[in-house]
């Protein structure tokens, strides 16, 4: 039937819908990549957008060819199909072009990947905290006045992570029980926390303020609520003030306070 070719429209609308979603996404903060605040995040977003352009062009190209084919070569009275088994030249062309694009894409990623994850590119700074995931909270262990971890004056916070703006920041990531993943969407950082391993992770922030820490690896019934607060301080002094306050809170002796209130 002649009207059968109208099916082309369904496939065309599907392709337009898909393309339209990404075009609209650019204009709506809820749809696009959550705003980025880290220097590595900028590189990752750049790579994301390059892949989006390449795949977008390939997608639109193949869908146009598909729809053109369906519309033009739909069955009609008197139509005869071509008798072709293939064409070597075309096969070579459509092997070599995608192959080169894919190799380019893979090589183009390597620099950023090695800068973020290779141990050799880890900033040579004291880790700001040791981060331990456990069902279903994040423990942050900061060094006290002696600048060393695992000593008596360590400060431990729960679901409350602080660091300083524009400083390369290193954490040591651990897990106490099951797999968790340390995911900072606004920083484009994700790393699984693996029982038995200590994994150094680094990142930075060009913006001070409040952000969110997500557990991104299934860790049990409370996985969905394993959320942490992230505070990026404007200056080191501001961070030190917070740390001092945290220490006071940690050392507050409830019994002594009660005794004092009762007139001791």
């Amino acid at each position: 039937m002649k009207t059968d070719r109208l099916w082309t429209l369904l496939f065309a609308i599907g392709a337009i819908f898909a393309t339209g979603c990404f075009i609209y996404a650019r204009t709506d903060a809820d749809w696009w990549l959550v705003p980025n605040v880290s220097s590595m995040g900028r590189e990752i977003d750049h790579l994301f957008i390059i892949i989006l352009w390449i795949t977008g062009i390939v997608f639109i190209g193949t869908q146009i060819v598909l729809c053109y084919t369906l519309w033009t070569f739909a069955d009609a009275p008197g139509r005869k199909a071509q008798y072709v088994h293939g064409q070597m030249k075309l096969e070579v062309i459509w092997t070599i072009i995608p192959a080169s694009i894919l190799v380019f894409l893979a090589l183009y990623q390597m620099g950023t990947w090695s800068k973020i994850k290779f141990r050799s590119s880890l900033p040579k700074v004291q880790p700001v905290a040791e981060v331990t995931g456990r069902q279903f909270q994040w423990l942050f262990r900061y060094a006290g006045d002696d600048r060393r971890l695992h000593t008596d004056d360590d400060i431990i916070t729960v679901n409350d992570f602080h660091f300083v703006k524009n400083e390369p920041t290193v954490i040591h990531l651990k897990s106490q029980d099951v797999l968790h993943a340390f995911f900072l969407p606004q920083f484009r950082i994700k790393q699984d926390a693996v029982p038995g391993l200590t994994i150094p992770v680094w990142f930075d922030s060009d913006t001070s303020g409040k952000f969110e820490l997500v557990c991104a690896e299934l860790c049990g019934w409370g996985h969905y609520k394993m959320r942490g607060n992230v505070t990026v301080h404007e200056t080191q002094a501001e961070f030190d003030t917070w740390l001092k306050k945290a220490k006071t809170e940690q050392n507050r002796d409830q019994l002594a306070l009660a005794n004092a209130a009762n007139g001791g």
Binding site: C21, I44, L47, Q63, F73, P195, G196, E212
Partner: protein, 602 residues
């Protein structure tokens, strides 16, 4: 009759086994590959509904967190009709497990593989009919154990279909890690045994029982795809089996393959360890990445044949197609690490896996271009199998391209374990595999049951499925790139997911998912109505060339009264001098015979 068999030198015997007479041996414990294929088809359809309903409950919770789910919420009257969060984890764990191990793999390899391989290569049955029967009946302990696990204390498994230790290995880590997880492991062991028996049978049958003249490079693409898939299964499954057994031992007799030293969970005492968690991930993905190809290659083969038939045109680039599925299978064994980029695996290894993963996109691209080449210049007939096959091509392009984002290790840092990957896998497994299954059902139903399905209902079903499928899954890419993690019961815990845009998209997707589910009633009605009341099907309703169409619909117990001789490839459509008919079946030496056969069967 016998000189063909002798000259071919294959293992044919020309005597015909007597047909079983009792109901039990004919329809239940059948040795007939066609009946076994249909058994796999029916159990697959039942499991498809279970898996689909589990998914709808997942979607409900994401759109309207903690609002009572219609009907299901009665189960949780004690909890104020709210879905308990561990149940959410069970829902998605079991949805994936059921869909992967009990629907897509058994439907593609079990149903279509069994039914089609002997018919398409011109054999009377599989090489090992008994093994074939066992492979089906090994599925039932798997199904029963998996279903039973919902009713054990603690309920069904809830460690995700990936079942990563230590959440899965220690019974006190989460409620579903009690007996539910043990049953899950045992069930998958049975499903694995079923697949393994099937794949050995397919490999042997395709190598040994091809009809005279059926050279390897005359096999239809469907059979090539089944052959490569069977090889993948045979080589990858032992690794999954070992991983499952190691986890089972960790859980039951106290070995420590996966738990590290000085480790504890939920305030238990320290566990004596010495194992490695990443070991399980490596073993698991060494099977489960090839499994992704096990779930798509047969669909690619079937779609290739269907596209050629309804374009009335030879398949474009047959050999490149064969080489590209072989390349997918080969590369499929060296890309498993791309599931583990953020797992703590050495990042240098991640860089190598990125390169191999990018390369595996190449054969998929080649196949897509060849499908477009097949349709180009054809005489495209928009039948319901063809529409679903075109849907496969259109949607597989999206699934393939979105994979490139995850293959890029730095980009994967952001989108790993978000809804972006959920969108990607559903474009491959629903947009790809499931549309291929629909296409296969519409295409081979006349051969299976001797009756035609209703074309109008078939088209309505495709229109609704295609529309609501895109409505359900496309926006997952968008919320995924926004950062929406997968496997969380309540997105509103996170501030960046509370925007009206994200909430709106989640609700839009859920409504589409429900409509997508409802649309499947159309194919179920069409299937069962046509089974009893559809018009009688001729032997070759689509005027196709492959061998299954030269025996009656449905084929008799012995398939072929006379083992056919194969003269050419299956794709001689619209060749010179073919008027008024535009096809030339593989078993017809002369074109004039086609005309006769055509007259006979109509």
């Amino acid at each position: 009759m016998s000189d063909h068999a002798l000259s071919a030198g294959h293992g044919h015997d020309d005597h015909i086994h007597p047909e079983p007479t009792s109901f039990l041996s004919k329809y239940v414990f059948s040795l007939d590959h066609k009946i076994i294929g249909i058994q796999f088809l029916f159990s697959g359809i039942i499991m498809f509904w279970i898996g689909g309903l589990l998914a709808l409950a997942v979607r409900w919770q994401l759109a309207w967190p903690w609002k009572p789910i219609p009907i299901l919420s009665e189960l949780w009257a004690d909890y104020g009709y709210r879905l308990p969060p561990e149940y959410y984890n069970k829902l998605f764990t079991m949805h994936a497990t059921v869909m992967i191990f009990f629907v897509i793999i058994p439907l593609l390899t079990g149903a279509f593989g069994n039914f089609l391989i002997p018919l398409m290569i011109g054999a009377r049955d599989m090489a090992f009919p008994k093994l074939n029967m066992y492979s089906y009946w090994a599925m039932w302990p798997a199904i029963i154990l998996m279903t039973y696990s919902f009713f054990t204390p603690g309920g069904a498994a809830e460690a995700g279909w990936t079942s990563y230790p230590t959440l899965s290995t220690f019974s006190w880590s989460t409620p579903g890690s009690l007996d539910g997880q043990t049953l899950w492991l045992m069930s998958l062991l049975f499903a694995g045994i079923s697949s393994l028996m099937g794949s050995i049978n397919y490999i042997t049958t395709i190598i040994m029982l091809r009809a005279p003249g059926m050279k390897m490079f005359r096999l239809p693409m469907t059979v090539w795809a089944m052959f490569i898939t069977a090889l993948l299964q045979a080589f990858a499954l032992p690794v999954l089996t070992s991983a499952l057994i190691m986890q089972l031992l960790d859980r039951t007799i106290g070995t420590n393959f996966f738990a590290p030293a000085n480790w504890m969970v939920a305030n238990s005492g320290n566990v004596v360890g010495g194992g490695q968690i990443l070991l399980f991930q490596h073993l698991f993905w060494f099977y489960s990445h090839p499994a992704v190809y096990i779930m798509i290659l047969p669909g690619m083969g079937m779609v290739s044949d269907i596209l050629s038939t309804f374009s009335r045109k030879p398949l474009f680039g047959y050999k490149p197609m064969v080489f590209s599925i072989s390349a997918i299978a080969g590369l499929g064994f060296i890309v498993w690490g791309h599931h583990m980029f953020q797992s703590g695996m050495n990042p240098a290894l991640g860089a190598t896996f990125m390169l191999s993963t990018m390369m595996i996109a190449l054969p998929s691209a080649i196949k897509t271009f060849n499908w477009l080449g097949t349709m180009w210049g054809g005489r495209i007939q928009f039948t319901s199998p063809m529409l679903n096959a075109i849907g496969f091509v259109a949607m597989f392009v999206i699934g393939g391209l979105s994979g490139i984002f995850m293959a890029a290790t730095p980009v994967d840092m952001h989108i790993h374990d978000t809804y972006f990957i959920v969108g990607h896998i559903h474009y491959v497994l629903f947009g790809g595999s499931t549309f291929a299954i629909f296409a296969g059902v519409y295409y081979w139903f006349p051969k299976m049951f001797g009756r035609m399905m209703n074309e109008r209902l078939g088209k309505i079903h495709f229109f609704l499925s295609f529309t609501f499928f895109n409505g359900t899954f496309f926006l997952m890419h968008i919320i995924g790139m926004h950062g929406h993690p997968r496997r969380i019961a309540d997105p509103s815990v996170y501030e960046f997911l509370r925007g009206s845009g994200v909430v709106g998209m989640n609700q839009f997707m859920t409504i589409n998912a429900m409509l997508l589910g409802l649309a499947q009633l159309v194919i179920v009605y069409n299937f069962f109505y046509s089974l009893f009341f559809g018009p009688k099907a001729p032997a070759n309703p689509w005027h196709a060339n492959t061998l299954e169409w030269c025996c009656p619909s449905p084929p008799p117990y012995y398939n072929f009264l006379k083992i056919p001789t194969v003269y050419r490839m299956a794709y001689e459509y619209s060749s010179e001098g073919s008027e008024p008919l535009d096809y030339w079946p593989q078993d017809q030496p002369e074109k004039s015979d086609v005309v006769e056969a055509h007259v006979e069967t109509h």
